[in-house]
Each structure stands twice: as structure tokens, then as C-alpha cells.
């Protein structure tokens, strides 16, 4: 379990650039959860998730992984990395290897996986991200297209088989197939006990994929609860500059002319309902 207790993060504290990126943030993530972290640009999402593996250090408060404060000296980096895998917002900045294989194999190798396991993990992870491994492993990661880079970056973290998978805007720049790959991995992983937290600007993703939403505004957590509850709070949504998913907005607009329509989260069901109402 991952826990954040009363954390403040301040960038450049003693300069005119002083920025309070997170203020008094507390949350707990339990095993098997799937959490969407949402909020306007600059609201502190990337800062928050970088706390999860110690990349950003709190100026105040604690980050606990299975009860242990990860920012104390005697904690092994390797142990943190084994448990918590993070895909950053700019994946291409992490690339360093000459081939895609070496890029994706780096994590598992570092965690002392056997040769056989390494190959297996690399191939599996690339397949999860929609690649045909033999046709991509020899390419240099630097020459890939933007979306291909992002997929390789995600594969390189999945390959380490972390217990907790953290993704910073994983579907940004991805095509239909790529989005579907990420979404199914999160969905299927969850049934197998994988814990995920993902940052997204896509409200449909937050609504359909997460069992919990954490919304940030100017470094404060302004909501922590179910997607249904969040997206029914229109005042809050517009106050923090977000919007409801299409299915809810559309249903609301239809109420005026169709009268009562049963609530449905699913777009196909909503269309069926409308079809039945106007069908004759």
C-alpha cells in the first residue's frame, strides 16, 4: 500500500519563482485500485505521481510504501523500483539504449531477472503495447514516431512487472489501437490485482476506467471519490476547469426534449434507449 501524509511540495522555495506545487496532500492507495488523477494543466498532477517513487521529495510530510517512509536513507531504491513503476509524461527523455530491446530490457535486467525472464518480459510488454516484437526490437528508440516512442516507454515499465503502475498521460498522442492497448492493460491488470494510477486529460478515460478519481486544483486535492460522484458535481467540475464525459452531457441535453431517460454510463445503452424512445 502507498500512502501520502500531509505532503507539501514547494519548488524553488527561496527565490522569486517560489511555487507551491502541492499543499497538504494526503491519500492512500490500496491494492487493486485504479485511480485517475485529473486537473487543469499546472495543477500538480505530475508532481504528485513523482512522489510515489521518491523522484520528487516532500518539503513536509511523508510518503510511505508498505508502511516504510521511502525518503529515509536506509530504503533501497531497487525495492521501490521493483514495486512502483512510473511512466513519465515525456517518455523520449528517458531513452538511452541503442535498440528497443535493450531499452525495454534495462529495467528487468537491473532488477536481476534471469536472461530467460528478461526476454519473456520484453516480448510480453511489447506485445501488450501492440508491437510485433521481432519487427521492432532491433530499431533504435530515437527514430520512432511520437506515439511509437510512448508505447515503447510504457512497455519498458510494464516489463518490470511492478505491483503498482503509475502512468502520466499514457494515452496522449496515441492512436485508437494504442489507446485500446493501454486501457485493456489497466482493465485486465486490475482483475489480476495490479494497482494503477494514471494522469489523464481525457474525461471519458477517467469516467470509464477508474474506480476512483482524485482531482487537483492549484496543488490541492479538491475531490477524492467515485467517478459517478465526481461527474455529477457540475459546480465543482466547472469551477476547476474540467468537463463531464460525453455520455452525461449528451443525456442531459436530451432530457429537454425526451423527458425522463434512465441513467446509463454506457454510451451504447444510452443510444439503445434513445432508439427505443424515438423508434416509432
Amino acid at each position: 500500500m502507498l500512502e501520502i501524509r500531509n505532503v507539501n511540495v514547494v519548488y524553488d522555495p527561496n527565490t522569486i519563482f517560489r511555487k507551491e506545487a502541492l499543499t497538504n496532500v494526503s491519500l492512500q492507495i490500496s491494492s487493486g485500485e485504479s485511480i485517475a488523477i485529473i486537473g487543469k494543466i499546472g495543477s500538480g498532477k505530475s508532481t504528485l505521481i513523482q512522489l510515489f517513487n521518491g523522484l520528487v521529495k516532500p518539503d513536509e510530510g511523508e510518503v510511505l510504501l508498505d508502511g516504510v517512509d521511502i525518503n529515509t536513507k536506509n530504503v533501497s531504491r531497487k525495492e521501490i523500483i521493483r514495486k512502483v513503476g512510473i511512466v513519465f509524461q515525456y517518455p523520449e527523455e528517458q531513452f538511452f539504449a541503442e535498440t528497443v530491446f535493450e531499452e525495454v530490457a534495462f529495467g528487468p535486467r537491473n532488477l536481476d531477472f534471469s536472461q530467460k525472464e528478461i526476454k519473456e518480459c520484453v516480448y510480453d510488454a511489447l506485445r501488450v503495447m501492440g508491437f510485433d516484437p521481432p519487427s521492432i526490437i532491433h530499431r533504435t528508440p530515437f527514430s520512432l514516431s511520437g506515439g511509437e516512442k510512448r508505447r515503447v516507454a510504457i512497455a519498458s515499465v510494464i516489463a518490470m512487472r511492478p505491483e503498482i503502475l503509475i502512468l502520466d498521460e499514457p494515452t496522449a498522442g496515441m492512436d485508437y489501437a494504442g489507446k485500446t492497448s493501454v486501457i485493456s492493460h489497466i482493465r485486465e491488470g486490475r482483475t489480476g490485482g495490479l494497482t494503477t494510477a494514471f494522469v489523464t486529460h481525457d474525461m471519458e478515460e477517467a469516467f470509464y476506467l477508474a474506480n476512483r478519481i482524485i482531482a487537483l486544483d492549484s496543488g490541492f486535492i479538491v475531490f477524492d471519490g467515485s467517478p459517478e460522484e465526481f461527474f455529477s458535481n457540475r459546480n465543482l467540475i466547472s469551477q476547476i476547469g474540467l468537463e463531464a464525459p460525453f455520455v452525461l452531457r449528451f443525456r442531459e441535453k436530451l432530457l429537454d426534449c425526451l423527458g425522463e431517460i434512465p441513467f446509463s454510463k454506457n454510451l451504447e445503452t444510452l443510444v439503445d434507449l434513445i432508439g427505443a424512445m424515438i423508434g416509432h
Binding site: Y11, I16, F17, G39, K40, I41, G42, S46, Q89, Y90, E92, E93, S143, L144, S145, G146, G147, E148, R151, D168, E169, A172, G173, M174, D175, Y176, A177, G178, K179, H201, M203, E204, G241, L242, E243, F246, V247, F250, K253, L254, D256, C257, L258, L267, E268, V271, I274, G275, I278, G279
Partner: protein, 269 residues
Amino acid sequence: MIEFRDVSFAYDKHQVVESVSFSIEKGEFVTLIGANGSGKSTIACLTNGLLLPFEGKVSVDGVSTDDISLGRTIKRKVGLVFQNPDNQFIGMTVEEDLAFGLENENIERDEAMVRIASVAELLGIEHCLSSPPYLLSGGEKQKVAIASVLVLMPDYIVLDEVTSLLDPFGRKEILSIVKDLAGNQGKGVLFITHNTEEIVDSDDVLVVSNGKIVLHGGVKEVFADVDFLQSIGISIPPDVYVASILKKKHLVGESVFFEKEILDAICLK
């Protein structure tokens, strides 16, 4: 006008753009969609001579992009915002970064400051001006990258997935700026995106798959076959998807595609 005539391009021996032809007039808002790796960014880099075709010809206002003597003129006419904004930052602060581009173009200091202030206001990044670009959040960087091309006021603007890291409000903001650039300021715009809601108001849509243009036409022509688009890796906007189901059931007319049209069709019944 930017014109592609039978343009092909290969990295090493790997051909990624094949016989592509299209044009962008001043005042036109053209969108380009396609799966990951289909060749969109390569096409973007071909528009201003950053890459040169190995077959065919790209010209800007009649000048071929391989005319070395006019290379600078072409780059001045066609502003390109890259997919990864980090590739285009050079200054120590955002303001310096923006000023640097203007200085390079011999724009006077006073004029430069006016332009920077007005573009910063337009994009809502005034608070970022004194920060180092590499310390900004993802979405802030993306807006700064757009600003760095807007201050230069080129005749043509090529935007490669510049809304991918923006929040819903930021996306709408950028889109309305882009529409204004084409519609009111007479710029020629090429807008690349995976977010197909954003192509709805464009004058012309190019759909690429494996380096070829497989569909080219108006928005409704392109959205007419949603199954085909999905099969080549393109996401469908939710309202277009809803309309496609209602059409299959013959509940709305064939000309219905977008939310407002669906609502009108249903509510008139």
C-alpha cells in the same frame, strides 16, 4: 500556397511517405489524421524543407523547398510546432526563448516585447514568462511551443499534435485560436491530431495510412465510414459514433453527424 506533388520520402531505405499530393492555401484550415507511425510528422517536416522529398516536389508560394538559396525564406514563411516541445527550446527563460526567435528575424526590441505580451495573453501563459522552459509542466510547455511560432507571425503554420497534453478547456482555446488564424488572419494552417473532435471545423481533411493519403475531403465525407477509420487506427468522436449507430438503425437521416444535428433530428421527431 504550400503544395505537395507526388511526394515520397524514406528514412534510410524505409519508405514512410508515398506519392502524397495536396495543397494548403492561405486562409485554409487543413487537418491531417492517421495512426501512430503513419507518416504525419514526416509530412510536417517536409512542408518547410526540414526534410526534403526523394521523389516529387514540395513548394511554398511557388518556391521549391530544395532551393537552397531560398531555404531561410521558406522557413520564415512556414512556422512548425513540433510534437515534442522540448525539441524547440533554447532560451534560459520562456521570455528569452520567445525573444530569441524574434531577434533572429531582426524584429525591433519594442515590437518584439509587444508581440510576446500579446501572444502570452492569448495563450494564458503570462505566469510562465520568467520561468525556465524545461521546468514547466507538460501542458505549459506545449503552450509555450505554440507561442514561439505565433510570435513570428508566419504565413503558414504547421501544428504537430499541439493539444495532446492540454486540458479540455485548453484544447478548445487552441482550436479557436487556430480557426481564427485561418479564418480571420488569412494564415494557411496544417493541424495534426489524434483527437478527431478537433477536425470538425476544418476546411479539408487528409487521412494517411502507411504513408499514403487514403482519404481526402470534407469532414463529413471523411466521417462517413467510421468502421474504415477505426480499422486504420483512428478514433471516432463520440457524437459521430452515436450518429453512425442511429443511421444504421434508420432513426436519423444520412446527413446527421454531430451533436447538434443529432439533437435537432431527435427533438424534431
